[in-house]
């Protein structure tokens, strides 16, 4: 498939269309809303499905030597991207140190739903991937949060509350990390045969339930956008689109070094390029309460997530193709 086919195919996939429907409904001020309890359960389901899939792959493929290097590279990337993001933000926008550090945390950390959408895109392209990328995703959630806290400590010592240790513990035991890693282990132990009886739920329904979840994400993103428009200055929007591209470029180089498959490289790039909107916001409210939440939520969910979903994913697949064997 050429670049254009990929891009168009992605834009016309139900996943993207339902997200667009949600954004549209919210911007048109429809009263459509998805019950929070069900959205939360769907998020848990998606983590379980992703984790199981990865675990089953690993039980099939065995432990590959790249695993350890990819995990380490992911952790390092998550820890270093915030510094870069902070620098860029301070350079191009007027955000204060605390707000900039809080935003930076989000871009180092990852978005599991973007990861899920990337898996869907790989399915559409008929590509597999290394099962352990799930572990990489889990590992990349937290370092960025630590990094941002350290940055804020230096730049505005009075603003950072809570100890790093405490925060590390909280973020490491974060529900989505636990479900992701736990389901990965369950899939690994149970293996293809053990997971088969539950495949109708965790495999067959994955793409449909992802659509349902993205409809909700669209509603939330659209509502956030219409409420927090005033925070979205031109430099910030630029950052919300440019930063994922910078991270993707770096990740592409690393993926080349790691020798990942096309699918694995695409997932790695997507992780780097994606911005957290669950773990990071909660951690920032605790660690950096002075940072304005509307800024980082709107940037991550209202700008970067749609960008990645609609345009980023096919682009990252092209990047991955260019560097994979």
């Amino acid at each position: 498939m050429g670049a254009l086919d990929l891009a168009v195919g992605n834009l016309l996939s139900p996943v993207v269309l339902f997200f667009a429907l949600g954004v549209g409904a919210a911007l048109a001020r429809s009263d459509l809303s998805f019950p929070e309890a069900v959205a939360k359960a769907l998020a848990i389901y998606l983590m379980m499905a992703i984790g199981l899939k990865g675990g089953v792959e690993v039980s099939r493929q065995g432990l590959q030597p790249q695993l350890i290097w990819t995990v380490l590279a992911g952790a390092a990337l998550s820890f270093l991207i915030p510094a870069l993001a902070y620098g860029v933000l301070r350079l191009i926008s007027r955000l204060g140190a605390v707000d900039a550090a809080a935003v930076a945390a989000h871009y180092g950390s990852i978005s599991a739903v973007t990861f899920a959408a990337a898996l869907d895109a790989l399915s559409r392209a008929g590509l597999g991937s290394e099962g352990y990328m799930v572990a990489v995703a889990a590992v990349m959630e937290t370092p960025a949060i630590m990094a941002a806290l350290l940055i804020a400590r230096r730049a505005a010592p009075e603003a950072a509350t809570g100890s790093v240790g405490h925060l590390l513990r909280e973020a490491g035991l974060n529900g989505s990390v636990v479900v992701l890693v736990g389901s990965f282990v369950v899939g690994w132990i149970a293996g293809p045969a053990g997971v088969k009886p539950i495949a109708p739920l965790f495999v067959d329904l994955f793409r449909g339930l992802l659509c349902l979840f993205l409809l909700d994400m669209g509603l939330v993103a659209g509502r956030g956008l219409s409420r927090a428009r005033r925070f979205l200055t031109a430099p910030l929007i630029l950052f919300g689109i440019g930063m994922p591209l910078i991270s993707a470029a770096i990740a592409t180089a690393i993926a080349l070094g790691l020798g990942l498959s096309t699918g694995g490289a695409m997932l790695f790039i997507t992780l780097a390029a994606s911005a957290s909107y669950i773990a990071a916001p909660a951690a920032m409210r605790i660690a950096l309460p002075q940072a304005e939440p509307a800024i980082y939520l709107t940037l991550s969910l209202g700008v970067t997530f749609p960008f990645n979903l609609a345009i980023g994913l096919p682009l990252y697949l092209l990047l991955a193709r260019s560097v994979s064997p």
């Binding site: 929070e36 909700d216 509502r223 916001p281 309460p289 939440p293």
Partner: protein, 101 residues
């Protein structure tokens, strides 16, 4: 009936555990947490439907206690809430079974 004080704290969800830890530490005899659906304030409006995470939502903490413990509790809570999104209101109540508080 026995005269007591009721503290109502409306607070952003991520800071809830912090507030409850303070109440536990001060050995408040009890508290109850109620969910909120929507609201508005200086930080603008929010509602449950506009959340993909609970980071942006509010919850209400209700704590009935003896007037003698009020000041210490408010002081500790205020300190914690300094930079956080929260409001605190106190009112008079009468309780039956006063020994509970």
């Amino acid at each position: 009936m026995h005269a007591k004080k009721k503290i109502e704290i409306i607070i952003e969800a991520p800071a809830l555990n912090g507030v409850l830890a303070i109440l536990d530490r001060l050995q408040a005899t009890g508290y109850t947490v109620l969910p909120a659906l929507a609201g508005s304030g200086r930080h603008g409006p929010w509602d449950e439907a506009g959340q993909v995470t609970s980071a942006g939502r509010m919850v209400a903490v209700l704590c009935i206690l003896d007037a003698t413990r009020l000041d210490a509790t408010l002081e500790a809570v205020s300190a914690y809430l300094a930079n956080r999104i929260a409001i605190v209101a106190v009112s008079d109540v009468q309780v039956i079974r006063g020994a509970h508080f």
